[in-house]
Amino acid sequence: MNQGDRELVERLLRGDARAFDDFFNEYFPKLYRFARRRLSDPVLAEDVAQGALCRALDSLRGFRGEAALFTWLCTLCRRELSARLGEFNPAAGSAHLAEEDPAVRAALESLMANESTDPLLAADRAQLRQAIRVALDYLPAPYGDILEWKYLREMSINEIAQRLGRSPKASESLLTRAREAFRETFTLLAGAPATGDR
């Protein structure tokens, strides 16, 4: 378990209300997307994510930290999916997404350095979009949000700093780290050869 996960779990177990907000705000949207990638019904995906969070909170004392918190939550979400899908749904049950691969999961957890970049330019665009979104979800908070604010909403560093309650310099540094983490994570997810920057 990484330091951030450990602290968050400890705060939750102490009854810290802000920890609950942090936990919910970070993981509910991620679990929703995790479920949504496997389900066509957005409301069902919300229910599944909700069920997984409730299970997690119910059994938080038993969480030993053998996997990252998000990985554990994804496992609970998968169980919730299995339990809810009464009629067999091959699309949901057997879809093998990149994030299901244990090697990829391990790699995502450790965010180990890997010198390769900008892969899969020729790959299927839908798959590529999915890999990007999965990579954003696996980034430590608040990297995924910062990248979206910067590149999709085109917020300035000052605006991002204001939103984060940090200095512009600290926010710039955070953005740099977010880009690097995204690059590494996405490269691992996409399984690209180490070809160097392009």
């Binding site: 929703y32 229910d47 909700q50 119910d58 004392r61 690059r183």
Partner: protein
């Protein structure tokens, strides 16, 4: 990081577009449910203080349960028997709580459960084994007491029973507010909420004996009986697979397939999922008894199990309309 890499990150994120977000209503609902689960978990950390308040919060439902227990104990007016081990834990999901005489008993896989124990699954679920063959599974929000090696009392929630098949000599009576439910080699579930008791049979036969008028009703595969007071609603031809049974199937311990024949795996799967099995030819059925499986299916859901087994054996496996089709 180079400017080019920076640009490629920007291009990729723009290509993906904004990630999906849950609806405001879904978020509000999930936040409320999660917060309840969190507060419940925190309260469990200080059980002695919690129990009084929680029992108060249960209100009428608990009062009904207490009345039921009182009725059941008072009816015989005998000293409670010495506790004996009646079952053991097979699968735990979440943190069900067991207590005996007001003392909380820690639960792990293989924990023994003795007569007189009360089990509350709260947000979790649990599978247990009685004797050597009978599997009992408890869904979320279930409260039961273990009365004896062949009897439990369902106070609230849902229980699923798999007796181990027609040839298994196991018996279990389930006492409910409506009366007693007993079985003859079967799979079924019993649900209790307040004064409503519902029994639904997946396979085999079940006998329900009303507490109110001693009326006996036998149920067979696909039947369901709802009893509320003196009102009976009987249904026939219900599905034996699908969403109503999924929770129980999800609690089933995974079959250890190492060196087992394909036919055995298929028989286990259809029983757990309430399916029927159809081989495309007799020859394939014979072959299925010869093909040996290796490895493990731990952590896989049904679709993934079928996909993997199909891949390694070369036998096509497909579930359609409640049937597992084997072969073309």
């Amino acid at each position: 990081m180079s400017q080019e890499t920076d640009n490629s990150v920007e291009r990729l994120i723009k290509l993906a577009g904004e990630r999906d977000v849950p609806s405001n209503e879904g978020t509000r609902r999930a936040r409320a449910a999660s917060e309840r689960a969190w507060r419940q978990m925190l309260a469990q950390g200080s059980r002695p203080a919690r129990r009084g308040g929680r029992f108060l919060a249960y209100g009428l439902a608990t009062a009904a349960s207490v009345a039921l227990v009182a009725w059941m104990m008072g009816r015989n007016e005998v000293e409670p028997p010495t506790p004996v081990t009646v079952a053991r834990v097979l699968t735990l999901d979440g943190t069900p709580v067991a207590s005996h005489g007001g003392i909380t008993i820690p639960l792990t896989v293989n924990s023994p459960l003795s007569s007189g124990t009360m089990l509350e699954t709260t947000g979790g679920r649990m599978a247990m084994i009685f004797g050597n063959t009978l599997s009992l599974r408890a869904d979320h929000g279930t409260r039961i007491t273990f009365d004896a090696a062949d009897q439990v009392t369902l106070l609230a929630g849902t229980l699923y029973v798999d007796s181990g098949g027609l040839n298994a000599h196991s018996s279990l009576k389930i006492r409910t507010p409506a009366g007693e439910v007993s079985h003859i080699g079967t799979q079924f579930q019993v649900f209790v909420a307040g004064d409503l008791t519902r029994v639904r049979v997946r396979e085999g036969r079940v006998m329900v004996e009303s507490r109110q008028d001693a009326r006996r009703q036998e149920l067979a595969t696909g039947d369901a009986l709802e009893i509320r007071g003196d009102q009976y609603v009987l249904q026939h031809g219900l599905q034996t697979f699908g969403v109503d049974w999924a929770w129980a199937s999800a609690l089933a311990p995974v079959l250890e397939i190492e060196n087992r024949p394909l036919s055995e795996f298929l028989a286990w799967l259809v029983r757990e999922q309430g399916l029927r099995l159809h081989y495309s030819s007799e020859r394939l059925q014979e072959q299925a008894a010869e093909i040996r499986l290796h490895g493990s299916l731990d952590g896989l859901d049904v679709a993934a199990m079928l996909e993997r087994v199909s891949l390694v054996t070369g036998v096509r496996l497909e579930v359609r309309h409640g049937v597992l089709w084997v072969g073309a």
